[in-house]
Each structure stands twice: as structure tokens, then as C-alpha cells.
Symmetry: C2
Subunit: 439 residues, 2 copies
Amino acid sequence: MGRGHRYPVVVAGPLTDSSSPTAEILAIGSELLTPFRVDTNSLFLTSRLNDHGLELLGKAVVGDRPQALVDALRQAVGRADVVVTTGGLGPTDDDLTRDALAAVAGVPFREEAAVLAAIADRFARRKMPMPAINRRQALVPEGATVLDNPNGTAPGLWLAVGRSVIVALPGPPRELKPMWDTHVAPRLLARFGQQHLRRRTLKIAGRGESHVDEIAAPIYGPLRAASPAIDTSILASPGQVELHLSAKGHDGDALDRALEQAVAALADAIGLPVFSVDGRELEEVVGDLLRARGGTVAVAESCTGGLVLGRLTNVSGSSAWVTGGVVAYDNAVKVRDLGVPESLLAAHGAVSEPVASAMAVGVRTRLQTSVGVGITGIAGPTGGSEAKPVGTVVIAVDGPDGRHVVRTVRFPGDRVMVRQMSVQTALDLLRRACAEGCT
Amino acid sequence: MGRGHRYPVVVAGPLTDSSSPTAEILAIGSELLTPFRVDTNSLFLTSRLNDHGLELLGKAVVGDRPQALVDALRQAVGRADVVVTTGGLGPTDDDLTRDALAAVAGVPFREEAAVLAAIADRFARRKMPMPAINRRQALVPEGATVLDNPNGTAPGLWLAVGRSVIVALPGPPRELKPMWDTHVAPRLLARFGQQHLRRRTLKIAGRGESHVDEIAAPIYGPLRAASPAIDTSILASPGQVELHLSAKGHDGDALDRALEQAVAALADAIGLPVFSVDGRELEEVVGDLLRARGGTVAVAESCTGGLVLGRLTNVSGSSAWVTGGVVAYDNAVKVRDLGVPESLLAAHGAVSEPVASAMAVGVRTRLQTSVGVGITGIAGPTGGSEAKPVGTVVIAVDGPDGRHVVRTVRFPGDRVMVRQMSVQTALDLLRRACAEGCT
């Protein structure tokens, strides 16, 4: 399995070269400088910027302080072709983005009648009086284009400054995302043409990072030297390794073809551990396999306490193939509700292959599904022994026609990590069982 | 309930004033500029910097490009008293932090024999040859203090530049965190004395943000004008509202006393919806209430598919008070394994108060616990009707002595949001039942 809470190792060099247009992201708000919040909009924005061949030079978070904001914005405009800001467009004194834009562009404000009317209308439809403070949101720096926001009062702004453009969007994701697709994407397309940056990801379970790297490394070289060149990187998270491929150029179809070939070569070399080449997560792959065969699954969980079922039922439409399960945290539940013989518990202990197998058989029999999964283990921090240290987990998958696998694994790390890797491993064993025919 | 995927609203003004020492964080690595990874070390670092009264001016992510890194580092050193970098200390060509430090400080490298010996020893203990490339990690900018890294090959660096200091740490959290506590914290204490920034958080469930704000706002004013002044902010996430209080000064005890009084005044005014004033999450509060009374809980989940049990069993030691549960995704499981009468399902539908109640009673009876919880609902995106639209969720809690509550709620948002708010609401109803005596 992966090496745990490691940072991703970038195998390839950086993507950036001087020929590509560039972007920076500036998240604005003092709350993002507390220990409690992390800016996640930048992941969405990065992906969308990449769609236009724009490469991210950097991203930053600044607080609600006028001078710091103006400085950061001015520097970003000096470096990047596109600067995207998020937040700071609200009606209060703390909302400084409009002012910073006007200062950096060196332009005055005008009050935009249409914007004011739209804000007033929004309040009217909710039968609420419009607070005087919201009038500020209709102030627009001279020369800026207003980007309509159907899901909030704060409109966005598009403002050219020198050879760069600033795109100012509100912070809430449910406002920002539709505004991007409606207003920003078409304008970037018009400005930067058809330059593309395309990405593909191979997701891999049941193999460690170094093992995957060993197989993939000989394939990387020719990919990087090819035309179009394909950049590669390897990223590890608990129980999962990902190979990320990317390519840039003007011919989107050629990029797609080159990436498909590269994905096929890597998938072929790595084999069964590759569970997805199209972005699907492990639980979606399991669901698709089951649905295709008319199969159903039930899960009996001890140390993972419901997390495997939680992952499976994350998938929309999972009621077609998840029947349910039993969380048997207490041994009495294992006996009463899963039919695990007390003699097995006494002879082998709750964390043992016979008990995991009996849990899988029990939940499959009782819930009348085609596949049953049983998981028992010691997540820690207490409960370990010399023979069965913290991190020992046993997973069984029981299918039709006597198909049955059981595996004992030992995971490193703390309680959260052990549980996460247990869930991942159980889903992967389930996937492999389903791939071999589970109904 | 909260307004969903909103950004936090900062009610108070920014914390920063010119008298406090300041810090910036620079996360280094091109992988952090892809759409796949977000820097989370900065949350830990912010919290630790705040412990020394250091306020965060900003944070940024830069890729593995030499000039961009030197520029970012130079600017940060010009603004902040402490600049913390993470990442880029590995042995490969992409690891540029050491070089950037030397460039910004204008000093040459020396090879540190002790560091080289430690790296060689680390490989020797694992019976692996030391790759020649790792020798780079023993290069230290002149004047820098080496910070030992017991969990990895990359040592950290502490380097004074002008009136600022740069603290360079490796990226992996399990290396960075212990290094902070062992090496960085004592040095910051020596440098900045006993300036403190203390924080407290009230966590609230079952009340919306605006409702909480209405109650809290009249209390804020005097707190901000008091000495020591207390800054306040309100943050909302699905199913939870948090009030964050903070105060700065040299007398840590006085700060603690003032914050305790403020917390007490707010908790008193808001009442039962406040579930924690000491950092505990909802599932920990439930666990503590159950443990104190010798109670146990079992959960029957439909639309949440195991996530309530997953949250409860996140708590270390939860096996003392979580017996287990049944995930009854399929109606047949509700009938067979929870004893829900088929007539109830036929008469009222699976998403109804009688069925939720029967699930709670059924799981409590079958698993012989003091409390049972039943949850059924429509998480979407499909399955809704006019009478029961997507987002309709029914939650029941069954306790001893005929105690029973059942509540029908309608949540906004997508599948993930509906499930998240369902879990939160179920845990809160369970908490309230336990607080009223559940055994």
C-alpha cells in the first residue's frame, strides 16, 4: 500500500514553459487566514483555467486589508495573463475587491443602474427591504464588464489592465461555478483561442507508489520525448496511487489521441490494480460492475464502522445495487445479527480470518445479496497486542459458487489512516471479486 | 439549518494590527498548482503561529521554478517577521528550497558532515544503499541552523535574513508536525517572548447562521470594546454554525479569563443548540454523554447509508458505547432485519415518520441498546415526488421509558449536502436525547 500521509512526488518536471499563457488565483478574505478554512475554489478554477491552456503560476490568500490586497493584485497582474480573484465582493466594509481593482487599474467608479436594479429586484422577490449597504455592490470600476450572478447579490467583474485581465468572482462555490461557465469561459476562449491543456488520470489500488513507479518509469521517457509531449506525475494517498498525464497544444484531438495511447500503455503494463482511467472513484467502479451483472452487495463492518457502506452509498443510484449491511461493532451483534458462531470468536478472536469470512457469509446470506463483505480489525489507538498490533485488519469477500477471498493486512498510521486504508482495501477486493464475476 | 455551501461570513474586522509580529506561509511544489491537491499544512502552521501571537499576513503556493520561488521568498521576507516554507527540501532537481534560501540570504553553501552522517545512517538502518542524489540534502546555506527530522531524510532549516527569519520545513505532515513542536516552537518563544493569541470556539447545531447571529450580535459589541478586546466571527457549514472568539496580549491568563467569560455569556444566550465550547465534535459529545451514563447506541440508516455510524466510530474508544447498526438501504432489509411492518411501508412509504420510528425501535430492540436512531430520506438526485421532494429526511430517536422523538426535515442542496446535513441533524437529535437522560 502507499506510504501514508506523504506529499505527492512529482516525477516529471514542471509543466510551465514560456510559450503558454499564464494565470494566478487570489483568494480574498481574512477568514481564509485562520486555522479553520482552506480555499477550495482554487481547485475548480485551476481545472477550468487549464481547459483554456492557461497554466497556473501561483495562488495566494490575502486578508481583508486594502494595501496588501492592492499590492498582491498589482504583482499578479504584472506576472500573469489572467488573474482570478475570489471573494470580497459583498456589501460590507470588509469587502475590498472592487476598490482594489479600481486602484490597480487607476480608474474611477460608476454606479451601474442595471446592477442596482437587479439587486433591488432580488430583494423584492424575497419580499425583503434592500439594505442601503447593498447599493455599494452596484459600484463598478470604469471600463469593467459586469458578470451577472443569478445566485447571489454580488456580481462579478471582468477588467482589462495593461496586457492582463482581472476576473473578480464572488467566494461562494455555488455562485462562482455557474458564473465561470456562463461568463468567464466564453470570454477566455475568445481571448486565448483554442490552446488546450488536457489531462488524464489512472487510478490504482492495491499497489504501492514505488512499485507503480518502477513499472511506469520506463514508459514515461518516450512519452515525454514524443510529439505532443506528455508530462507525467505520480501522486499517492492512503490506499491509492494516481498517475497524472497532461499534454498541451493547439490541436485538441491530437492531444486526446496521444493521451489515450499513453493511458492504454500504462494500464496494460500495470494491469488489474488500475481501477479507473476515466475519473471514476473506486465505489463508482464497483457500482458499475455490479449493475452490469445485476448483482447486489451487503457489507458487515466492524472497525470501519459504516464507512464502506457510506462510500458505496455516496454513489447516486446506489440503491439499485447496495442492499444494506450490518455494523457489528459489538461481538454480540456479530453473533446475533450475522450468525458468526461464538466458538469462532472464542477460538480465533474477533480480528481473524475465520471471523471475517463468517461475517461476509453471514451478511450475504441474511441480506440475500450476490456478494457479501466482512471487515474486522484494530483501528487503534488501543486494542492492539503483540500478535495483532494496531493496524491489523482482516477483510473477506464472499460471492456465489463458493467464491471467497480473505486477506489479512497490517496498515501503518493512526486511527483515521487505518480506517481509510481499510475502506479502500475492502472496496478494491470487492472490485476484483466483481470483475471476476460476482453474480 | 445553515445556508449550505456558503463561504464564512466574517462579522468582526480583521485581527491584524501593526503592533503584532507577522508571518507568511509559502507552500512549494508544482503538484500544489494542479486541480488535485490543496495545501493543508497551512492550517496546522497558522494555528501554531497564532500560539506565539504571530498573525498570518498571507499564504501562497509557488511551483518548482527557481526565479518564482526566489521572488516569492524575497517579498515575504520583506513583509513578515517569520516566513515558513513547506516542501522542496528533497534530494531531486525539483527540490529548490535550499537554493532559494541561499539566494535570498546571499550566502554560499557548506556541506554539513553531521547531516550527511544522519542521512547515511537512515539508509544503513534500512539496509539500503544511499543514493548519491541524497548527498544534496546535506548542503546547508551558510549561517542556517539545521533542524533534525527524525521521520525523513530532509532536514529543516532556520535562517535569519535581515530582521526576519525563514523556517524551511519538509512537506509531509508527519515529518513537519513533530519538527515544529521540537525545534521551531522553542525558537519562536525565545524570539517573540510571551505574546499570545488565544482562540475559543462555540459549536452550534440545529440553528441557522442568521438566527445565531441575531442572538450573538448584541453580545459582540461590549466584547470588542473590552480590555482585552475580543474579536468575534461567525462561520457556517452544512448543519453547523461556529462562533470563533480570539484575543491577543502578553498576559495569557487574562486572555483566558476574558475568553471564558465571553464563551459563557454566549453559551448562556444561545442555550441548548451549543453543543461544544472545548473543540469537541458532535460525535465526541454524544460519546461522552453516553459513556457518563453507561448508555449504548445503535443506528438504523437508510439514506445516510452508514455515515452516522461512520461518524460515531471515528471516536477513539467508541466501542464502549457504539454497539452497531443496520444499513437498510433496501426495504426488504427494513422488514427482515429491523422488524419494520410491511403494512407501515405500504401505508406511509419508506420515507415517513412511522417507518423512521419503527427503524429506531427495531434497531434498539434487536441490538439491545439504550438508544436507537432511525434515518430514512430521499438524498436525490432521483426519487423525489411532489409530496416528498428530494431532501426530505425523517429522523427518529428511541430511548428508554417511552422516550421517543421523530422529526421530518427538508434539506436544500445536492446529494452530498443532504446526506451531510442528515448525519449532522441525526447526531444532534441523539445528543439532545442523551442530554435529557438516555439510559
